[in-house]
Symmetry: C2
Subunit: 432 residues, 2 copies
Amino acid sequence: MNFVEVIARKRDGSELSADDVGAFVRGASSGQVADEQLAAMLMAICIRGASRGETRLLVEAMRDSGALWKTGEAFPDAVDKHSTGGVGDTVSLVFAPLVAACGVPVVMMAGAGLGHTQGTLDKLAAIPGFRTAGSRAEAFDHLARCGAFFAAQSQEIAPADRKLYLLRDVTATVPSLPLIVASIMSKKLAVGARRLVLDVKCGSGAFCKTPEEARALAEALVGVGEGAGVAVAAMITDMSQPLGDRLGCASEVRAAVEVLGGGGDARLRQLTVELAADALRMAGRPRSAALAEVERALANGSALARYGEIVRAHGGDPDVARLPRPRRTIPVGAPRDGFVAAIEAEALGWIAVGLGAGRQRQGDQVDLAAGVKVQARTGDMVEAGQPLATLELGERPVDVETMAARAAAAFRIADERPPAAPLVIARLGGAA
Amino acid sequence: MNFVEVIARKRDGSELSADDVGAFVRGASSGQVADEQLAAMLMAICIRGASRGETRLLVEAMRDSGALWKTGEAFPDAVDKHSTGGVGDTVSLVFAPLVAACGVPVVMMAGAGLGHTQGTLDKLAAIPGFRTAGSRAEAFDHLARCGAFFAAQSQEIAPADRKLYLLRDVTATVPSLPLIVASIMSKKLAVGARRLVLDVKCGSGAFCKTPEEARALAEALVGVGEGAGVAVAAMITDMSQPLGDRLGCASEVRAAVEVLGGGGDARLRQLTVELAADALRMAGRPRSAALAEVERALANGSALARYGEIVRAHGGDPDVARLPRPRRTIPVGAPRDGFVAAIEAEALGWIAVGLGAGRQRQGDQVDLAAGVKVQARTGDMVEAGQPLATLELGERPVDVETMAARAAAAFRIADERPPAAPLVIARLGGAA
């Protein structure tokens, strides 16, 4: 097959065949199609879009480009969880021990931080000694022993996605719904849990800026999952401000442990409880029983105990006192009296990255102690000088004044209290 | 500048700034923008298009990526000629000596064959000893001594175009009007003649299949040329069948010499005379006087004599007896009585390439003796068995029966004579 002709078909808006999609995806993972040809195809898909059929073909071809873990065969009840990426989103670190404590096995393929968000993989690196599962056998062993595993997204799972993702990042083809769906779902289906809890973020800090965009993405993800025999419960949730009150690796581990201990940030707690209840409902519990069971696990210490077991199973030390701490903290005060009308989550995310909590380019070292603590939330009344946030500095030298000014500018102060926005905007799939 | 942001602007259909276009073109010629990023940008331009302003910026940036010959400063009357590429199009080899014999200097930047067409550079290689001008100094010396030069498109002229062209070829981004305009005009403006004669082909054997497409391309080329202070005379001409009756390198040189000697193929002769008359009109002659002067140069032997001078100046031997000859010829007979209703020029072009007269991939050796002789033209009455064409075989081993069957299939035989189609479909710019 001449791959130029395949590119030309998508360029002209024609429907790609299974052979066309196969040539594209196999060409990506084998290296037989040149990077410039893959890039041209990605841009054609980005602009022309892809039908449901083409998206399904993409997902299947990318899934089949690597190993299939078939987790659902060994653990039929196992649930996978995915978030489309937000700021201060520490849900995974709470969700896994919480749901496992309720008797439902949890699969966690963790990724590194991307853009303005911090990745679960980087947060886990803040836990002394923690090693993600390095193989299917090790992951399944963790799952059998403590009900959850954390594994790093590896070359073994959907290698075509890895190749295409690196290209998308440099060719302005990241924001394409079918490519996003294919990237997420190919990996989920390759790991092979039969249940999936999805958190689609919506708002200024997320890829989907509007509820319409978030709904389109959520529907596509649910459609592909259910089409492949996976039960999917999806929520569209608010990312018009950071989810939790901490941004940064060690800081977010601390935030997770606080929630697991029965306290913690209210919004982080609420969303994790909702998602965990969905996971329990998919395992057969009625909704009211599911919510009660999740709350009980937080209240009676079993979730926190399970966190310790999971961390130790992965070679880590669950003692929060041993987490890295910031070298210095810089308070950011409110410029005037008023109400917090909005918080630019993406801007705060980039500030945390600038302090060292994420990567500005591939290969950058992450500073585990760096981050931002958010001390005023949307709707809060503040007085001039009252701390809106605190910059947590690690080892990286930064221009403190510029960073503090940028952080202050991320908070919009108004004279009137803004209307309250719901955290869970909509539910789709098995949770609807 | 972050080039991903530039790609994103074109992806979303925004207007590119001069800085954006400069980053793209300089990135291409310097190698500082990766091939996959250039490819994504090319596809975005191919699908989204480009405004007149963006096209002008592209042309200027690509022109300025290499040397500027400023031919018009040394030779204000010099005329350049360009064809968008057709089958059996031997015009350049006739035009240069013919126009030079009429006292107007001719600039010829010759390219290698591409796709199903044969290139002037390959045809010149059939002339024993012929060496294209290797530098501006040598080209200007030829121009001063014999009124014309042939130079090979070099790395020196518009290197950004060379880089982008190679990428377009493998990324299905060749058929983009602004990219075609930029590729053609950047090179023309870098050579810098102040007058340009354009032949925009239209029909089954050309890039532009319809008169509307050809008109859009011609208008864009004229617009960019005139905007840069170059007088442009453009014709849209018929490529629904091969222009001349010969396809192949040595064979087309012979066809050119026949026309220069006062005979030759009627269609090749007619089009060359029209284009040459345009060149003379741009140099100030009234239309009737221009046509008469061109006809006189063909009739009195001065054009043929000038051909000998130009070939000798380039180190070549003008004796046609010394041109390579086919090793073997295979006649292709008409399958039945009737009229030639259509000739698929592109199919015949690919057959000639298959015999060795062109390149199936970059770096292929061209067989100078191979080609196709067309013996029946659209509108001709033919009897079963009468030769429609003759395959001229060189050294390359070919499946003769398959080739002959493909050649016969390129001629559509009907019961009725088709309506006559004009050779010159329209005129634009200085010639309108």
